[in-house]
C-alpha cells in the first residue's frame, strides 16, 4: 500500500467512525425524547452500525465468497430463530 493509499483509507475509516458516533448520538436523543417506537428506532440504528462495522472495519463487503456464505448462513439462522421464537410467543399472548 502506498502512503497516499493509506491516508485515503484512513480518511474513509475516520468518516465511518464519525458516522458511527453520530448514530450513537441519534440513538440517545431518540431514546430520551420520544416514547412511541423510540426503542425500535434505536435497535434499527444499532443494526445499521453493525452493518457498517461488518462491511468496512471487518471488510466483509470485500470478503471471499466462502466467508460471505458462512456469515449469511449464520445471519439467516439467527433471524429464523428470532422470528420463529417470537411467533411462538405471540401465539401464546
Amino acid at each position: 500500500m502506498s502512503e497516499s493509499g493509506f491516508w485515503r483509507a484512513a480518511i474513509k475509516d475516520g468518516a465511518l467512525w464519525l458516522a458511527l458516533l453520530a448514530l450513537v448520538a441519534i440513538s440517545i436523543f431518540v431514546a430520551k425524547s420520544t416514547r412511541a417506537y423510540g426503542f425500535e428506532i434505536d435497535l434499527a440504528c444499532a443494526v445499521l452500525q453493525v452493518g457498517l462495522i461488518g462491511a468496512f472495519f471487518m471488510q466483509l463487503g470485500a470478503a471471499r465468497p466462502l466467508i460471505l456464505l458462512t456469515a449469511a448462513s449464520a445471519t439467516a439462522f439467527l433471524l429464523s430463530m428470532f422470528v420463529l421464537s417470537l411467533n411462538d410467543l405471540f401465539t401464546r399472548l
Binding site: 462495522i53 472495519f57 458462512t70 456469515a71 410467543l89
Partner: protein, 211 residues
C-alpha cells in the same frame, strides 16, 4: 512470495496466501459461533422484554447511561484505531502499527475501568438480583439478571482481546512478528466483533427505558 511473507509462513502451509485465507476463514467461523452464542442471549432478552415490557423499561431507566455512552465511544474509537493499525501494517510501518495497537489496547482497558466504576455504582444501588433488590417489580430482577450475565461475558471477551492486542503490539514493536502476519488481521476481526456485540447491547440495556 516476498521475504516478509516467507518470514510469516508457518507449518503446515507452503504458500502464504493459503495460510492467510485459512486464518481469516477460521476466525470468521469462530465469530459466527460467537454470534450464535450471543444471539441466544439476545433472543432470551427480547422474549422476556415482550413478556414484561413495563418492568424492563423501569429497570432499564435505572442503568447508568453516561457509563454506557462513554463505553460505546471508547469501543468505537478502538475499532477505528485497530483498523488504522491494519492499514499501517499494509504500509509496512512497524512503529505506526505498534502505536495504534497500543492505543487500541489502552482504549479497551479504559472501557474496563469505566465498567468497573459502573459495576460499583450498580452494586452500591443494590441492583443485584435477590431479596433486597430495590425495584419492587418482579420482572425487573430478570432484566438485571440478564444485564449482569451478558455484560460480564462481554467483559471476558474484551479482556481476552486486550491481551491478544497487547501481545501483538509487543511482538510487532520488537520485530519478532512480521507485519504481514495474518495474526494482526484476525485480531482486528475479533476486536470488531467484540465492538459489534457492545453496539447491540447498548440500546437494549441503556436505551430501553423510554422517554
Amino acid at each position: 512470495m516476498s521475504d516478509a511473507e516467507t518470514a510469516a509462513l508457518r507449518e503446515p502451509w507452503i504458500r502464504y496466501t493459503e495460510q492467510r485465507d485459512v486464518a481469516r476463514f477460521g476466525m470468521w467461523i469462530f465469530i459466527v459461533s460467537e454470534v450464535l452464542f450471543f444471539g441466544a442471549f439476545f433472543l432470551a432478552f427480547t422474549y422476556l422484554r415482550i413478556l414484561h415490557t413495563e418492568a424492563f423499561e423501569t429497570a432499564s431507566s435505572r442503568t447508568g447511561l453516561a457509563y454506557g455512552a462513554t463505553n460505546t465511544v471508547l469501543l468505537l474509537t478502538s475499532s477505528f484505531t485497530m483498523s488504522l493499525a491494519v492499514r499501517g501494517s499494509a504500509l509496512g510501518r512497524h512503529q505506526l502499527t505498534t502505536v495504534l495497537l497500543g492505543i487500541t489496547a489502552a482504549l479497551g482497558s479504559a472501557f474496563l475501568v469505566v465498567k468497573g466504576f459502573e459495576y460499583r455504582d450498580d452494586l452500591d444501588k443494590g441492583l443485584w438480583p435477590g431479596p433486597s433488590f430495590p425495584i419492587k417489580v418482579a420482572a425487573a430482577q430478570l432484566f438485571f439478571s440478564a444485564y449482569w450475565i451478558i455484560t460480564i461475558i462481554h467483559v471476558i471477551h474484551l479482556t481476552i482481546g486486550i491481551g491478544v492486542i497487547a501481545r501483538l503490539a509487543q511482538a510487532i514493536g520488537r520485530r519478532r512478528l512480521p507485519l504481514v502476519s495474518p495474526q494482526l488481521e484476525i485480531a482486528a476481526l475479533y476486536w470488531s466483533f467484540v465492538d459489534i456485540v457492545w453496539v447491540m447491547l447498548f440500546p437494549i440495556i441503556y436505551l430501553g427505558g423510554g422517554a
